[in-house]
């Protein structure tokens, strides 16, 4: 028996920079997981994935990742996706500093 559909976000890596991006409801790619469109319906998820993956000059390797609703937007449910929202644990590189710096600007 097929399990109940769990909510998803569409995520990928940026073609040029390689960093992690998320598809938003208004068809933008955001660096923030919380900006992503939280998709609750399986058929819609497939449509959004096709839409994301078709943008071959912007992103690479689009896929659906499990997520849940959070206070300020979707949150990851698996530790791998959680790490992707931040960067590595051994140095302060990646989103954990890039986003902070971006907000400071």
């Amino acid at each position: 028996m097929k399990g109940r559909f769990t909510p998803k976000v569409v995520t990928a890596n940026d073609l040029r920079l390689g960093d992690v991006v998320y598809l938003t409801a208004d068809d933008q790619w955001s660096r923030l997981h919380s900006d992503a469109e939280l998709i609750e319906d399986e058929a819609h998820a497939q449509m959004r994935l096709l839409h994301g993956a078709a943008q071959r000059l912007i992103v690479v390797g689009a896929y659906l990742a499990d997520a849940k609703a959070g206070v300020s937007g979707p949150e990851p449910t698996h530790f791998r996706e959680d790490f992707r929202t931040r960067g590595p644990s051994n140095y302060a590189y990646g989103k954990q500093v890039d986003l902070r710096n971006a907000r400071d600007v």
Binding site: N13, L15, R16, L17, G18, D19, V20, R56, L57, V60, G61, T77, H78, F79, R80, F83, R84, G87, P88, S89, N90, Y91, Y93, G94, K95
Partner: protein
């Protein structure tokens, strides 16, 4: 050191030009990602969790100071000021952007380096004993043969689309420091009854999801037969290898499914066909290459200052005891520079550290550097009188850690901090284990212990052959770490045994501590190493220490 011929130079430059155009075509949309991916992988460019990653080959682990400085320049200009040395004697840059990669490859070509065949189903970077040309126990320097294999395998038309990747390791010493038994082909130099040097050829070793120790298909192969013999092995594998199933495509499965006797017969039959086709050009080339690896002009000078320093300075003495190895010239020592400072990332070096190591190699080390599969840097030829100065400089740069061969000298793959294939993190586990044993001030008392961590079943961290191995897995959405004990990476290679159920991220460091304390309690004398004690005692006492509640229940 080997210097590129005009042919090498032209070939590497043309590949840079090709890839530059391929990147342009990807960015303007003329190539899809499906078309581009194999092209970028052929040039060592991966897409990882947070960014692209460029894997640069360091053939047989040998680097010149100018090359090390260029690696530092690339780290500063195109990355974040550091590089990661890997168990394959490569260096990986974790943060390049796509548009910069052609410029990086061009900068590498400027110092006779490249990233070709660091990925894909081809013969990968040939690895070698990191003490080659210096070790006291060595029969012959294996690097000329490694360079011959590099030239032969680069862009070899027959072997560009093998069933799966193919790794060759070579050592010129009977004591194996190159893990030859866990490679697709392992070559170990031995002498025959007449005292002539040749190679023991082992085939079908490998780690990963199906770990296997290589099978000896030739106990003694004359040196002149090496290339046709290796070609025969590749040729048999190319025909028989399982292209239908990625997980069964490595030669270890071919050997296992075909049987040692039959695969040996097939290789020998193919060799009999190929050998007459080799007219000796390979041997002429090998002789030319060997000239480039002539030993340096060793200095003849007193080593009294070293002896005096050794007696007087306990910090220097501790470092000398762990980080130096016997050189073939008694006035010299092999220096292993630890890239395993407690709490730091195993195998990482900053650009400043790279430049310092380049300087020390130039000043004191006959301009040679090596990268070990254990993720350290080697100065293979240092006169003993220069060791105090070398140590002082290393110490100042955070490179003076006296822990080579000890529990904090951990091999760790990048794991889920970087790698897209990983199922759990490795680096923070390594950092915490090193910090914990430093805090306990126990590691010198524990003595030789190889701890190796992989963040997934592919086993880049060689966990199967660690005295203590740790494998990070994803168990129902949580990081879980499985322990193996008793592995051995040397000429007496053994795959470690699983202890039982795994441990959570916050339980793994205490679990390792329990194993080590059990060893300290049970060893017969400090001279009995962890591996010796394990071989004498077996798994039981370590299991009891690891799973105390279970042991109590069994006793009840």
């Amino acid at each position: 050191m080997y210097n590129y011929s005009d042919f090498d130079e032209g070939f590497v430059r043309s590949r840079v030009a090709q890839f530059t155009q391929q990147v342009d075509r990807r960015l303007d949309g003329s190539l899809t990602e499906d078309e581009f991916r194999p092209l970028r992988l052929m040039n060592g460019l991966y897409l990882q969790l947070h960014a692209y990653m460029l894997r640069v080959a360091i053939p047989y682990g040998t680097l010149a100071p100018r090359q090390m400085r260029q690696l530092a320049m690339i780290a500063d200009t195109y990355d974040k000021g550091y590089g990661h040395f890997t168990t394959r004697q490569n260096i990986q840059y974790n943060w390049p952007v796509l548009q910069d990669v052609p410029a990086i490859l061009s900068a590498l070509a400027d110092v006779e380096m490249h990233a070709i065949q660091t990925s894909g189903n081809c013969v990968r970077n040939v690895t070698a004993d990191h003490f080659a040309g210096a070790a006291a126990d060595e029969i012959e320097d294996p690097r000329p043969t490694a360079e011959l294999l590099r030239q032969w395998s680069t862009d070899h038309p027959e072997f560009q689309f093998l069933p799966r990747k193919f790794k060759i390791a070579i050592t010129g010493s009977p004591n194996d420091r190159a893990v030859t038994k866990a490679h697709d082909i392992g070559l170990r130099m031995v002498r025959n009854d007449k005292g002539e040097p040749g190679y023991e050829v082992m085939v079908g070793g490998g780690l990963g999801r199906t770990p296997m120790i290589g099978v000896t298909v030739r106990a003694f192969l004359p040196k002149a037969d090496l290339l046709p013999y290796v070609e025969a092995v590749l040729s048999v594998y190319n025909s028989l290898g399982r292209r239908d199933n990625k997980y069964k495509a490595r030669i270890k499965i071919t050997v296992h499914e075909t049987g040692a006797e039959e695969i040996t017969r097939l290789i020998e039959a193919r060799f009999a066909e190929l050998r007459p086709l080799f007219g000796g050009a390979d041997q002429v080339l090998l002789a030319e290459i060997a000239e480039a690896f002539a030993p340096p002009a060793f200095r003849n000078a007193s080593t009294d200052s070293y002896d005096a320093f050794y007696k007087a300075d306990p910090t220097f003495r501790a470092w000398a005891d762990t980080n130096l190895s016997a050189h073939r010239n008694a006035q010299y020592a092999i220096v292993t520079i630890s890239l395993k400072a407690h709490g730091e990332t195993p195998g990482d070096a900053t650009s400043d550290q790279m430049r310092l190591m380049a300087y020390l190699a130039e000043q004191y080390g006959h301009s040679e550097l090596r990268i070990s599969h254990e993720q350290n840097v080697i100065l293979p030829h240092v006169h003993k009188s220069d060791l105090p100065a070398v140590h002082a400089a290393l110490h100042q740069a955070g490179l003076g850690t006296a822990n080579v061969g000890l529990i904090s000298d951990i091999i760790a793959c990048p794991g889920m901090d970087y790698c897209a294939l990983a199922t759990a993190r490795s680096i923070p586990v390594a950092q915490q284990i090193a910090l914990r044993f430093d805090e306990l001030k126990l590691e010198h008392d524990i003595g030789p212990l190889k701890l190796k961590i992989s963040g997934c079943i592919n086993a880049c961290g060689h966990h199967h052959v660690g005295h203590i191995g740790i494998l990070g897995l994803d168990r129902a959405g949580v990081e879980n770490y499985q322990i193996t004990l008793g592995g051995d990476a040397t000429e007496t290679a053994v795959i470690g045994e699983k202890t039982g159920p795994g441990f959570a991220y916050d339980e793994i460091v205490p679990a390792i501590e329990r194993i080590v304390l059990a060893y300290l309690e049970q060893r017969e004398a400090p001279s009995e190493t962890f591996l010796d004690a394990y071989r004498r005692l077996g798994l039981a006492p370590f299991k009891a220490a690891l799973y105390p509640t279970e042991a109590a229940r069994d006793a009840a």
